[in-house]
Symmetry: C2
DNA sequence: CTGAAATTGGGTATTTATACCCAATTTCAC
DNA sequence: GTGAAATTGGGTATAAATACCCAATTTCAG
């Protein structure tokens, strides 16, 4: 049986080396390429296509979601597995919706990563046990079903970021040359969309979801 | 010249493999041990001591700060280098205060990690260029010089956590069986201690500093 | 071009947070 | 035990945020 051909995209040199080392001793998996960013990945895929692509979500140039979408459109035969530190329901959902067929945390032991590769190669979907539970829990308790980032408009994201950085509505209004009422309107929409009832929880949830920077 | 003897503590299998692979091809560095948690590290150090210890800050059982403090007390000859994803001034300060002699991000390229090991082995301190800038910047602009976690009292931490979880002062007062005035007093102290002027920024900063959970 | 969504802005009220003033009691380290 | 820090609580104001009502304009995709 031919080994499964695997490629990696990750901007952390240590992670790339770790995977390289892991696959070195497995004869049913062959590492065919490593890329540090989305651009070089897209270049490389023109030359050769792996069976499985391990894809980091946080890359310097492209979002993992965009890459997954591109790849599943242009190279549907490649099984994309998200390999990331983000144990967040919204990222999990968005990656699967973008065409990924697996989601594994970087903290996972070797066996889990290998299992994910084999299952996805065999046409199954794969998610770690803990993540299954997380997604299930979220779908029961949380009203926000879609990725909120897609839900927020540009202005809302802009206002959200300014709220998080120590500005009041009045100050935000002044810095954007808008009426305070307009800012209040955006604030209200932010509270509705993230399903919280005050600014404190809004910021906490926004940071959790990666919508605002600390 | 004898190679530098290096040990690793990190709960991520991939990172351990990555470092293992990196050192495999360097003849001036020898990897003598890898540990997944603080307990096994402390056990292992009784048997053999490396020249350099690469220490992850987030471990399942002990904080990196505690470990660094223990090691620099019991094995002062070991050069402790923090190897972490946390590019946060307060962690940097706390690790150096706890006796670490280097601080490197996991995103760093191989050369930087090797450089850190060599410099610390030669008795120097080491910090990445970007982190130097961060610490410098912070010491100029930020009034909070110590780790704020040490600064916050138990009640303040408790109130902070409740603020972050969608409760108003009145609700917090009720759930703790206290007067709303008392909660307001704690809130005021939180704003003063973290040097922010409203709840939004308080939460943002608290999360950044690891004082509140998302 | 058309229509839905986004962005803008206003009125009015209430609730909440913040900023000052004040002090008694409790806790805990030295 | 002593004393500093923490915790508790009050009065009074103002500023800010939130909750409703309303609609005109702009943007942008189908």
């Amino acid at each position: 049986m031919n080994p499964i051909r695997v490629a990696i995209v990750d901007d952390h040199p240590l992670i790339r080396k770790g995977l390289y080392n892991m696959f070195q001793y497995l004869d049913n998996i062959q590492l065919t390429a490593t890329y540090a960013d989305g651009r070089s990945l897209l270049e490389g895929l023109k030359e050769q296509q792996p069976d499985i692509l391990l894809l980091d979500i946080h890359l310097p140039d492209h979002s993992g979601e965009t890459l997954a979408r591109l790849i599943s459109r242009d190279h549907p035969a490649i099984g994309v597995i998200a390999l990331t530190n983000l144990d967040n329901v919204y990222y999990i959902r968005s990656m699967f919706k973008a065409g990924a067929r697996g989601y594994v945390l970087k903290t996972a032991p070797e066996e889990v990563i290998v299992e994910a590769i084999q299952k996805v190669y065999n046409g199954e979907r794969f998610m770690e046990g803990g993540l299954r539970e997380l997604v299930l829990q979220a779908s029961l308790t949380d009203g926000v079903q879609r990725n909120p980032q897609l839900l927020l408009t540009k202005r809302e994201q802009e206002v959200l970021q300014l709220i998080a950085s120590n500005l009041t509505s009045k100050e935000i209004a002044e810095s954007l040359f808008l009426s305070k009422r307009t800012i209040d309107h955006h604030r209200n929409n932010l509270l509705l969309k993230l399903n919280v009832k005050n600014t404190a929880a809004l910021i906490a949830k926004a940071i959790k979801l990666g919508l605002a920077q600390t």
